[in-house]
């Protein structure tokens, strides 16, 4: 493994390996001194062209827990506002000597372009509505740690599927790991070609409540054009919101997940978000461990020590 650009590039064994490593790093993060020297002397470039809190902080934390140095680039107040191209910015950051780049960008394919321009290993931290592989891995780690295995789980992804890189990353990798996936959304937020995703679909959250192990909720991405595709928020909630009443109808043991940021009162009821079924904070903490696993795999297999 040289890059992590799309989760679809990983087979089941590679995912299992990263999750095993993720388990190890969960243990490391629980120690009194939650830090190992594995990547001492390495520098990791974080290029975040889109607003991001949890993913950027999570990569930063993961790199530092492995004793790597971090070069952070965000466009606000940078040369981007002076008209610098993505390529020139990437080459500039490269000249500062990072061993790997973590890239988030609003355009599909940006991490591939940066890999081609710089020749550096690249981790995709989210490109457009396309891929977000470490999000999928942290969700798989969270599910595996909670249920013991992912194989056989019934997962419903509810919300703005069409504009979601999380949905695209999860739909493929969950199936790779043996889970079954149903996407639930107004037809205007379903993928253009749901069949080609290999998933089932449902036209309302009530249809799936009784027969799921995992309800995975997504935010409506108004910034990607997701806001003009249903009549009103109230109508969206009436058919797709995970209300308390609906959460009560979930099977025993079913869990609720959300990649954040949440819009409480829209896709998820505030009390459900804080309730016993919610794994949201586990997702965040497992995110650090799984990103440690990815950075470790990419940088220790790349340069033998």
């Amino acid at each position: 493994m040289r890059d992590l650009l799309s989760v679809d590039d990983l087979d089941r064994a590679e995912i299992e390996d990263l999750l095993d490593l993720g388990d190890d790093f969960v243990e490391v993060l629980g120690r009194d001194v939650p830090k190992v020297p594995a990547l001492r002397g390495k520098t990791i470039g974080l290029m975040f062209y889109e607003p991001s809190t949890r993913t950027r902080l999570s990569f930063d934390r993961a790199a530092k827990a492995l004793s790597a140095d971090v070069l952070t680039f965000t466009p606000g107040g940078s040369s981007v506002s002076k008209g610098e191209s993505l390529k020139d910015t990437a080459l500039t950051l490269q000249a500062m000597g990072p061993h790997l780049m973590v890239v988030r960008h609003k355009a599909t394919g940006a991490p591939w372009r940066i890999r081609d321009w710089t020749g550096l290993p690249v981790v995709n931290a989210g490109d457009g509505a396309h891929q977000h592989p470490t999000q999928a891995l942290l969700d798989l780690l969270t599910l595996r740690r909670h249920f013991g295995q992912v194989d056989g789980l019934r997962v419903a992804i509810v919300g703005d599927i069409r504009h979601s890189r999380v949905a695209r990353s999860l739909a493929g990798s969950l199936q790779t790991m043996g889970a079954s996936v149903t996407v639930v959304a107004p037809s205007t937020l379903l993928p253009i070609d749901t069949q080609s995703w290999g998933v089932a679909s449902a036209a309302g959250i009530d249809e799936i409540l009784g027969e799921v192990d995992v309800v995975y909720l997504l935010r409506i991405q108004t910034e990607r054009g997701g806001g003009d595709v249903f009549p009103s928020v109230a109508e969206y909630v009436s058919r797709f919101g995970l209300t308390r009443d609906r959460a009560d109808r979930l099977p025993d043991g079913a869990v609720v997940m959300h990649p954040g940021p949440m819009n409480r009162g829209v896709e998820i009821d505030p009390q459900v978000a804080d309730g016993p079924r919610a794994l949201v904070t586990h997702q965040v903490s497992n995110g650090i461990a799984v990103r440690m696993a990815v950075l470790f795999r990419l940088l220790t297999s790349e340069v033998p020590e």
Partner: protein, 416 residues
């Protein structure tokens, strides 16, 4: 200067004949067998097709205003390399060609012809008619807001009524703004997987279906630019069956490539209309064979390397096409020599209302094209190199091009 083209397969009014062609100062003076060289520069055209020079209905020369991409001189050089002896320059320059004095600045008569087209609406803004009489007087025969669609049916109707009376043709870039907003590629399985907003086939077809009703209403000659979907081919086919004065063009890239190329996310594959599905490609090929689609139009759209060296969604739309058109059409569709020249040379000129014929005594504009010879597209004459075929070996080589200026190009020695 006297030239003698020997041994070629020549397209004349009587069909394909093995004839020698004598040209004096670029004009055909004899079409006979066994012409003895007598001070001629002799061109051995054995195995080659000889016919009228190619005619491109759809070229972006970028002058005035975007000369870092292309200018008229470099565009003419690219056209000659591709065997074209006339190109129709699209009006979406800066400023837009919406008045006669601007069109006159574009027009060229040597070494090949550059024929300006004119905008339908002022500034291509889609709200007021351009200076149509003025453009007509400057020699404009084809009117288009290419790059944009004339979305307002009322405006298009008035333009059609006006241009029909002049005798011109209205050409449409069909892309419904509501259906295609924010789109970057064909809407289908690949766009769905990549998370890139698509341009649905219906975005093209609803405009053409609407426009065909306006053709019925106005009687104006109407030309579909860069047809890209199977549905469009079907609309044109039934319109022609109904006797409407409709013509259509297809680009070489839409005949050869489909949306699976975009899986690479390489901006070289970004163009509008987008690369469609394999079924669409099949329908376009069939349409070109049976004549539903009259002509090849390159939609030669130069962009500088730095402009394409960005992400797919941020990249400008378009590919260059003049230099590779004949090779790509030859590779994509199995056309016999007569049909090949019909689609590349004769029919496109007729769309403009020109008299256009196979070779005869007195013809100028002759191309020698070897359909089997390989060449490498490694030195574009265009200022821009945004081509999927850059660096590739292509079959079908333009050997010589003659115009009223004489022999204007010859494949160089050692460049085979």
């Amino acid at each position: 200067m006297r030239h003698l083209i020997t041994g070629g397969s020549v397209l004349t009014g009587s069909g394909i004949e093995d004839l020698d062609v004598e040209l004096i100062d670029g004009f055909v003076t004899r079409l006979e067998t066994g012409i003895e060289p007598d001070g001629h520069q002799v061109i051995d055209a054995s195995g080659s097709w000889v016919g009228p020079g190619f005619f491109d209905l759809h070229t972006h020369l970028r002058e005035p205003g975007q000369e870092w991409k292309e200018d008229i001189a470099s565009g003419m050089a690219a056209a000659i390399a591709g065997g074209f002896t006339a190109v129709v320059a699209m009006p979406n320059t800066d400023p837009v060609i919406d008045a006669g004095h601007l069109a006159r600045q574009i027009a060229r008569f040597a070494p090949i012809r550059v024929i300006p087209s004119g905008a339908i609406s002022l500034g291509q803004q889609g709200s007021h008619l351009a200076h149509l009489d003025d453009l007509w007087a400057a020699g404009v025969r084809l009117f288009t807001d290419d790059g944009y669609t004339v979305a307002d049916a009322g405006l298009l109707r008035r333009a059609m009524e006006y241009i029909a009376q002049l005798g011109g043709v209205v050409a449409q870039h069909a892309e419904d703004p509501g259906l295609c907003r924010n789109g970057h590629m064909h809407e289908g399985t690949v766009s769905s997987r990549l998370g890139i907003t698509g341009l649905p086939s219906a975005g093209e077809e609803v405009i053409i279906a609407r426009d065909l009703k306006l053709v019925e209403l106005t009687g104006c000659r109407y030309h579909v630019q860069h047809a890209s979907t199977a549905g469009t081919v079907e609309l044109i086919r039934s319109a022609k069956r109904a006797g409407l004065p409709v013509t259509a063009e297809v680009t070489p890239h839409h005949l050869m490539l489909d949306h699976r190329q975009v899986e690479s996310m390489d901006p070289v594959y970004k163009m509008y209309p987008p690369l469609r599905s394999p079924d669409d490609v099949d329908a376009l090929r069939a349409g070109l064979v049976d004549g539903t689609i009259d002509a090849v139009g390159t939609d030669h759209a130069p962009h500088a390397a730095f402009e394409k060296d960005v992400t797919f969604e941020e990249a400008p739309r378009g590919v260059v096409g003049l230099e590779t058109a004949a090779s790509i059409v030859r590779a994509a569709v199995d056309l016999d020599q007569a049909t090949f020249f019909e689609r590349m040379a004769i029919a496109p000129a007729k769309v403009l209302g020109e008299r256009s014929e196979p070779l005869a005594i007195g013809s100028s504009d002759v191309v020698v094209f070897d359909p089997e010879a390989d060449w490498v597209f490694d030195r574009p004459r265009s200022k821009s190199a945004n081509s999927p075929w850059l660096g590739q070996v292509l079959k079908g080589t333009v050997k010589q091009v003659f115009t009223r200026s004489g022999l204007v190009s010859a494949a160089e020695e050692g460049e085979s």
